[in-house]
């Protein structure tokens, strides 16, 4: 009886301290155009924040911007109200963050997918090229027509980074492989157009491709659907999309934005904050290829050993994956 009371008191105290923590520790997330529920990049960040909330009981605030002027406004609104840390999602936020982070030097900021060089900013960038290399290798190995394809959202540097790694990986496995590449559009709608994604994938299949990788946000769900409908293979991106069409999704190039967001909030809470650039690649598990019960039948032992070997070689530096950002060209 007495022990239960003590335990109860301890639990109560714990709850109260968490409550008190919640008062002072208020993290915030600012998404880019796609918004919280884009089934892709922004949503991955949202999931990360949600994981943190569920684990710690600390509520976070978030904001979805509608036009470019709101980027600065949202950051400033959060900073003024004392939210800390403030995590911005997407390369497009860099300029706004640079301005606002200077105005609030005591607030901690983080940005995903871009580098802002200020003492109170943590910049988180991913080596998309490394993860894309691995899925490119798998795509080439499972292609029977010796033709694979890529559907990107928009022809911008970030997507070229995905595409370049994919091509290198594919050619590493089969030097003579043919790769077809298409971009969805030129406006924000390019990331939210599954119909068009499906059409592009179908036209690529008609040209002989039998494995397609997408880096196109919500548009990509149409790509994977088309692959499933036509009996071809799709490759997911950002989060593990293997379960969407079991047996038709070869693998997914996982970009662990959720882990990064969760970790950033946790670091800030536990006083382990570090500013500066954090580059997350295969070695840091920031990017990887997914392997689970849904795609197990599609990955042969030979493919698995080849991809694991490539992974080891990339981590050890024996195999160098070209990063599009270094020289703005893709030699493949």
């Amino acid at each position: 009886m007495k022990t239960t009371t003590i335990l109860g008191a301890v639990a109560l105290a714990a709850v109260m301290t968490t409550g008190a923590m919640a008062e002072t520790f208020k993290p915030a997330v600012v998404y880019d155009f796609g918004g919280r529920n884009d089934r892709s990049f922004n949503e991955s960040a949202y999931k990360g924040a949600l994981q943190f909330e569920e684990r710690t009981g600390i509520r976070f605030r978030d904001f979805e911007i509608q036009n470019p002027s709101q980027r600065e406004q949202a950051l400033r609104n959060f900073a003024r109200r004392g939210l800390d840390p403030i995590i911005t999602i997407g390369f497009a936020q860099a300029a706004a963050l640079e301005k606002v982070a200077k105005e609030f030097p005591d607030t901690h900021f983080a940005i995903v997918d871009s580098v802002v060089d200020l003492p109170n900013v943590r910049s988180i960038v991913f080596k998309e090229s490394e993860g894309s290399f691995l899925v490119g290798l798998l795509a080439a190995m499972s292609s029977e027509s010796n033709t694979i394809s890529f559907v990107g959202g928009m022809d911008i540097p970030l997507i070229r980074k995905f595409s370049c790694g994919y091509k290198q990986g594919a050619k590493y496995a089969k030097p003579d492989i043919k790769i077809i590449e298409n971009m969805t559009g030129t406006t924000g709608a390019a990331w939210t157009d599954p119909l068009k994604g499906g059409e592009l994938a179908r036209s690529q299949f008609a040209r002989g491709a039998d494995v397609v990788f997408h880096a196109a946000g919500l548009t990509g769900t149409g790509v994977l659907q088309a692959a499933a409908d036509e009996g071809k293979l799709g490759i997911g991106v950002d989060s593990n999309q293997n379960h969407l069409h079991p047996g038709s999704v070869l693998t997914s190039m996982i970009k662990a934005v959720d882990v990064a967001v969760d970790k950033t909030m946790t670091d800030a809470k536990e006083g382990k904050w570090t500013s500066g650039v954090e580059v997350l690649g295969l070695a840091e598990n920031g990017v990887s290829w997914s392997y689970d019960e849904y795609n197990k039948p599609l990955i042969t032992a030979e493919m698995q050993s080849a991809v694991e070997k490539a992974k080891m070689d990339i981590i050890s530096g024996k195999l160098e994956v070209h990063d599009y950002m270094v020289d703005s060209t893709c030699p493949f």
């Binding site: 509608q66 036009n67 470019p68 022809d155």
Partner: protein, 367 residues
């Protein structure tokens, strides 16, 4: 007295107010449905837009955008042309402005760059509107189709230029470098230091917008060209019979319309962002259609309608921020309802109001 004729103050004052009220009542119902207090929502909306200096600054900043695009649509309306390519003309105008700023910002002060940027923006915007205008005049290609297609060509061109040519080496974001001081328009918070505009981006482009309103008013109602534009819009056949060249009026009107849209970049590119970036038009080209409709094609009306939409944009952002359950999609619904009632259904209350006035004040109406 003919059916539906009303005193001007009713036409320009009471009817828009009624439409707005209807839009807000429906919005209020939607807010109730999602379980929030509509009065609380209105409070945040209005306070966010007008309650403090920074909010006012943002409202004026957005309004500046809409004045330019609203005028662009209105001028084309007067000639009976429906220019919905504002978005693309804004984008290209911004390119002209951006190129001028990139070329001059390191060598001359802003007041030298400013007039050059105005010319650059107007030229590029006009050039983008010229092709649809010419095709309409000479080939009969419908301007609604061509201008909206040109929006996509504009965005494709800008993505290409920003990711390949204007982007500084090694950066992720497809945008140009930030302009130096010589390419930055002074912000009102630095000009009028006595008024607290907070950190809002409202800049000298606001006054440019007001000046352009004056120019458009003079042009449409006090010049020969303006008369030609209006008569062509009222009756193309009659005006052609009277010796007004349809080709000339169509092309010139589209050039003016495109130039006006192109000037919006002064506010965003040279004033706020001080760099060229993707999607900076942010839908303002389309809001311009609603603004022009609501403002009845008159500069004063357009200024008022722009203020209203500026208020909705800024207040809406603030509302979404303060009440997270009201998402940005909800704000779009409210804006859409205003557009629906003020634009598409603008004549809904007219018969009732007309009947009311016919019965009670026929003498006023006749006068």
């Amino acid at each position: 007295m003919s059916k539906g004729q009303l005193p001007r103050w009713v036409d320009y004052g009471v009817l828009p107010a009624l439409n707005l009220l209807a839009a807000f009542i429906i919005s209020g119902l939607v807010v109730i449905v999602i379980g929030e207090d509509p009065f609380e929502a209105v409070k945040w909306l209005v306070w966010g837009a007008l309650g403090y200096g920074e909010g006012i600054g943002y409202t004026l900043y957005y309004a500046t955008n809409f004045i330019f695009t609203g005028l662009a649509v209105a001028v084309a309306f007067h000639a009976g042309l429906f220019n919905i390519g504002g978005e693309g003309q804004v984008y290209l105008g911004g390119l002209g402005i951006g190129l001028v700023c990139l070329a001059l910002d390191r060598y001359v002060p802003w007041w030298v760059t400013f007039p050059c940027a105005i010319i650059g923006g107007a030229l590029f915007g006009a050039a983008w509107a010229f092709i649809p205008g010419y095709l309409q005049a000479k080939r009969g290609s419908h301007i609604v189709i061509t201008t909206i297609m040109f929006n996509f060509i504009a965005s494709a061109l800008m993505v290409y230029l920003l990711s390949n040519i204007l982007i500084p080496q090694g950066t992720m974001s497809p945008s140009s470098r930030t302009f130096e001081a010589g390419g930055q328009l002074p912000l009102l918070r630095n000009v009028f230091t006595s008024f607290d505009f907070g950190q809002s981006p409202v800049n000298l482009a606001f006054f440019l917008a007001l000046a352009v309103c004056g120019v458009v008013w003079l042009l449409i109602w006090h010049t020969k060209l303006g008369y030609e534009i209006r008569s062509f819009g009222a009756n193309p056949d009659a005006s052609a019979y009277a010796g007004i060249s349809p080709v000339r009026v169509t092309v010139i009107t589209m050039l003016i319309s495109g130039a006006l849209a192109g000037l919006m970049g002064i506010n965003v590119v040279m004033g706020e962002q001080t760099r060229l970036l993707l999607d900076f038009a942010g839908g303002a080209g389309f809001v311009g259609v609603a603004v022009a409709l609501m403002g009845r094609g008159h500069p004063i009306g357009i200024i008022l309608a722009s203020m209203l939409f500026g208020l909705l944009y800024q207040g809406g952002a603030e509302l979404a921020f303060e009440i997270p359950t009201i998402s940005r999609d909800m704000i779009v619904v409210i804006q859409a309802l205003v557009i629906l009632f003020a634009g598409a259904l603008e004549h809904m209350f007219r018969p009732a109001v007309a009947a009311f006035f016919n019965r009670f004040s026929s003498s006023t109406a006749e006068a």
